[in-house]
């Protein structure tokens, strides 16, 4: 074994750095956080970690792909003052995976995880080859978090990414002998304000019937991945089934087998327009996904109430929720076109 990846050496280095940096007390780590990413995305990872700095002590293992021949590793301890000015320390192990691919091997990072606390994986790499990933985490990790929106920025099709995630969830269910792997997606949480705003729009009793009369929804001012998860959520809640997909739109059957068309418009206006079979139109618009004001033009009414949900709060919330989110799973299941039904 490479001396750099020797767990005993790494543990000693962490302890000695902790002693130098945190004189008050050494806290218990709540979980292991495994971060898989490419070195050029280091900034994204730092943004993400900033949401738990000073809030959740954790052991963090970075496994990042680097364009070098050999894998190397080093440790880093970062301490941040909490609300009582006590130190909350991150024990970080950085494995720079070289072209030898030693760093990404399970035998390299698993012994470095603190024993008997949850392992949470954040996967910010391309999703291919997907099968290897599945085999690596089954039975080892407690939770894996993807970010479809991140993959979209890497030119991966959100529909294909979500379908792969669905396959992971369904394959996991074929292995009842190992503990279940919870799967989630930061983008699902990002769609939460849209879902909240929509639920609030249709909450008044006189608006409720319009929900079952929709025939077209156009969303704009958001990414495809966010729009896709939003539409899948609507489909799962309203019992629609996907019947057609092309580059510009999705089509669903509602329970009466009437067609509902949903589209992401190439338009910077942040809004969702709902049209019904009776030619009524309702519009939700917002300044920012996390803003507290929403304008809903519906039957002459305007409402402006919604609980904003900050991006950092999303990350923390995801790390604090160990179990599967059935709402999300049910939404993903709506991806199944008739020709994909063997995955159901």
């Amino acid at each position: 074994m490479s001396r750099e990846l020797n767990p005993a050496v790494i543990e000693n280095n962490i302890i000695s750095q902790l002693r130098q940096l945190s004189s008050n007390n050494i806290r218990t780590s709540l979980f292991n956080l495994l971060l898989f990413y490419d070195i050029k995305d280091q900034g994204t990872i730092e943004d993400l970690l900033s949401s738990i700095f000073g809030k959740r002590p954790a052991r963090i293992i970075h496994i990042r792909n680097k364009d070098a021949d050999l894998t190397n590793a080093y440790v880093k301890v970062r301490c941040h003052a909490d609300y009582e000015q006590n130190q909350v320390c991150f024990q970080e192990i950085i494995i720079e995976n070289g072209l030898d691919n030693i760093g990404i091997a399970v035998g390299a990072w698993l012994p470095l995880c603190t024993h008997d606390i949850p392992i949470i994986v954040i996967w910010l790499c391309r999703l291919i080859p997907f099968e290897d990933l599945v085999q690596t985490f089954y039975g080892i990790a407690d939770k894996i978090i993807f970010c479809t929106e991140f993959n979209e920025t890497k030119a991966e099709d959100p529909f294909a990414v979500c379908l792969n995630i669905l396959k992971l969830i369904l394959s996991d269910r074929e292995h009842p002998s190992h503990p279940r792997l919870s799967v989630s997606d930061f983008t699902w949480l990002k769609s939460l304000p849209l879902r909240q705003k929509t639920a609030a729009l249709f909450d008044p009793k006189d608006m409720r019937s319009a929900l079952y009369d929709l025939n077209k929804i156009i969303i704009s001012g958001t990414r495809r991945s966010v729009a896709l998860l939003y539409f899948l959520w609507l489909a799962s809640r309203l019992d629609w089934n996907l019947i057609h997909k092309d580059d510009s739109q999705l089509q669903f059957h509602d329970h009466k087998r009437d067609i509902i068309t949903v589209q992401l418009a190439d338009d910077h206006r942040k809004r969702i327009v709902f049209a019904t079979k009776e030619n009524q139109e309702f519009t939700l618009s917002w300044q920012s996904l996390y803003s507290s004001t929403t304008d809903a033009e519906s039957m002459g009414k305007t409402t402006s109430r919604s609980r904003p949900f900050g991006a950092q709060e999303q990350v923390l919330r995801e790390l604090d929720s160990p179990g599967p989110n059935l709402l999300y799973y049910n939404a993903l299941k709506k991806l199944s076109l008739p020709e994909l039904s063997e995955h159901e």
């Binding site: 806290r27 809030k55 959740r56 639920a199 609507l234 507290s292 609980r307 709402l327």
Partner: protein, 499 residues
């Protein structure tokens, strides 16, 4: 009409409907120290969005004065944690009515300006003797009835002075409001660690099987304060530690520890179980085995290196006062689960440290294999739930000392909130205010709970009615309480936990 299918899974992010909160006693301490900061914090964290705060008090302030004082308060309390813009936005939502509580004047204005609002909340943060006139005026001015609006009233402790006054206040409230509109606040229940008692007991499988008289020797509940009575001399002279602390905080903690598992987390399911505990409390009467209660009062002493005066020298206190500032007692809960298990409760002011904890002491093993050789008694297992400060849970057990003998020593296994979740819990008032706004009464006290607690406490106080002076002991400020406190424990071969 079927329910909204889109709302499932989104409920955790509820924000209250737009509301107006009228704070009676807005110029007082409670408003400045707790209510306004809690509302501001809820606002800056986006838990409340559309709201109006109306301060109502006798102080001759204008709305501008109230805004100015609120701005200063926010600045002092939140400093750099907030922005000028946030403060300005908050201040826009503030109004003030200066008027007596017992005449129509202020209520007419209130009605004119705010009665058309859909959700009105009245918060009684006044001295308790003003509750009744305010409730009457709200009723008389029809500020509690409208087909288009909903109303709630929040009542601060002390809720009555004894069982009779509590019943009177309840009946006054319930003549104007329905029980579902009344929120009796005990801020102890808003503390994260108090709520954690229920999670700890019923969210873990290992404790309930041993949470009974087969395994538990006794329970100690301590609420110790370093502070004195501060500026509350005249109130405290009529209350004392039993009314001020036992009737509410200590009995609430006792209920949390002793209650049976509720069927669900609905407010009434939990409150029903708490009432059952209060009903099962064995009354302490003059005929109870003595001593069952020790009352004491602090003398002068030293706290944090500073001299502090005796209770009898405090402002607005009778120099011959026989009011207790410390009380400890032994209680029994006559149920199948707790039969024969003593519950020891103590609370006091000007003690050596501030500490709130519940300690469950388990029975020692039936056959002592260890600890006899050198007559060292075996240390019992203890599970301690610390409410404040340093919220956490400690389990004490015995471990072998390293070496060639089988000597044992008690060691602690610790969980502290701060170490695991390095995040500040919301203030108790923030939690309770938000719950109330969202119509969740779980952490509020119901009328029958209050009356049962007063029934027990009134009976207890009546034991001292005739010879309160003879039954009063003394302790030095800064100490752990009166020497005589051990008399409660001695018959049970136990000692109080160290403060």
């Amino acid at each position: 009409m079927q329910k909204n299918p889109l709302s499932e899974g989104l409920t955790a992010h509820n924000t209250p409907e737009p509301f107006v909160i009228v704070i009676f006693g807005a110029s007082g301490d409670l408003s400045a120290k707790k209510l306004i900061p809690a509302l501001f914090s809820l606002f800056t964290h986006n838990h409340i969005i559309d709201f109006t705060i109306v301060g109502f008090a006798r102080s001759r302030w204008s709305s501008s004065d109230f805004k100015e004082k609120t701005a200063a308060l926010i600045h002092n309390r939140f400093g750099t944690q907030t922005t000028e813009q946030e403060t300005a936005e908050f201040l826009k939502r503030i109004h003030y009515i200066s008027a007596p509580y017992d005449t129509d004047e202020g209520y007419t204005l209130l009605k004119k300006k705010f009665a058309a609002q859909k959700h009105l909340i009245y918060y009684l943060a006044t001295p308790p003797h003003m509750y009744e006139p305010i409730i009457s005026q709200l009723g008389k001015n029809r500020l509690t009835q409208s087909a288009d609006s909903t109303f709630k009233i929040v009542v601060e402790k002390p809720f009555g002075h004894d069982v009779t006054s509590a019943k009177l206040l309840n009946s006054k409230l319930l003549s104007i409001f329905k029980e579902t509109q009344v929120y009796r606040i005990d801020h102890y229940l808003g503390k994260e660690t108090v709520q954690n008692i229920i999670v700890f007991r019923f969210g873990n499988g290992i404790y309930e099987p041993i949470w009974n008289n087969r395994y538990i020797d006794h329970v100690q509940i301590t609420v110790a304060e370093k502070a004195g009575i501060e500026m509350r001399g005249s109130y405290y002279e009529n209350a004392g530690a039993i009314r001020d602390m036992v009737q509410n905080h200590l009995l609430q903690l006792l209920c949390m520890v002793a209650m049976e598992a509720p069927n669900d987390l609905e407010p009434d399911s939990i409150r029903n179980e708490k009432v059952k505990v209060l009903k099962a409390l064995r009354p302490i009467t003059v005929d109870s085995p003595q001593p069952a209660v020790i009352r004491a009062q602090y003398r002068a002493g030293i706290i944090d290196g500073e001299k502090v005066k005796a209770y009898r020298k405090e402002d607005k206190v009778d120099p011959h006062s026989i009011i207790e500032t410390y009380v400890c007692m032994r209680l029994f809960i006559d149920t199948w689960r707790w039969s024969g298990v003593p519950f020891f409760l103590r609370t006091g002011k000007r003690l050596s440290r501030r500490l709130t904890e519940i300690s469950i002491q388990f029975k020692t093993p039936p056959h002592l294999l260890f600890g006899q050789a050198d007559s060292t008694p075996i240390s019992p297992n203890t599970l301690t739930l610390t409410i404040q400060p340093d919220e956490g849970i400690t389990f004490r057990f015995n471990s072998k000392l390293p070496g060639f003998t089988t000597k044992m020593r008690a060691v602690n296994m610790n969980f502290t909130y701060g170490s695991s979740f390095a995040e500040k819990s919301p203030d108790a008032y923030e939690r309770l205010l938000l719950d109330m706004m969202l119509n969740d009464a779980t952490l509020f006290t119901r009328n029958d709970e209050i009356e049962q607690a007063w029934k027990f406490v009134s009976q207890l106080i009546s034991c001292f009615k005739n010879d309160a002076d003879k039954n009063l002991f003394f302790y030095n400020a800064g100490s752990a309480g009166p020497e005589e406190a051990h008399l409660i424990m001695t018959p049970y071969n136990s000692t109080w936990r160290k403060l």
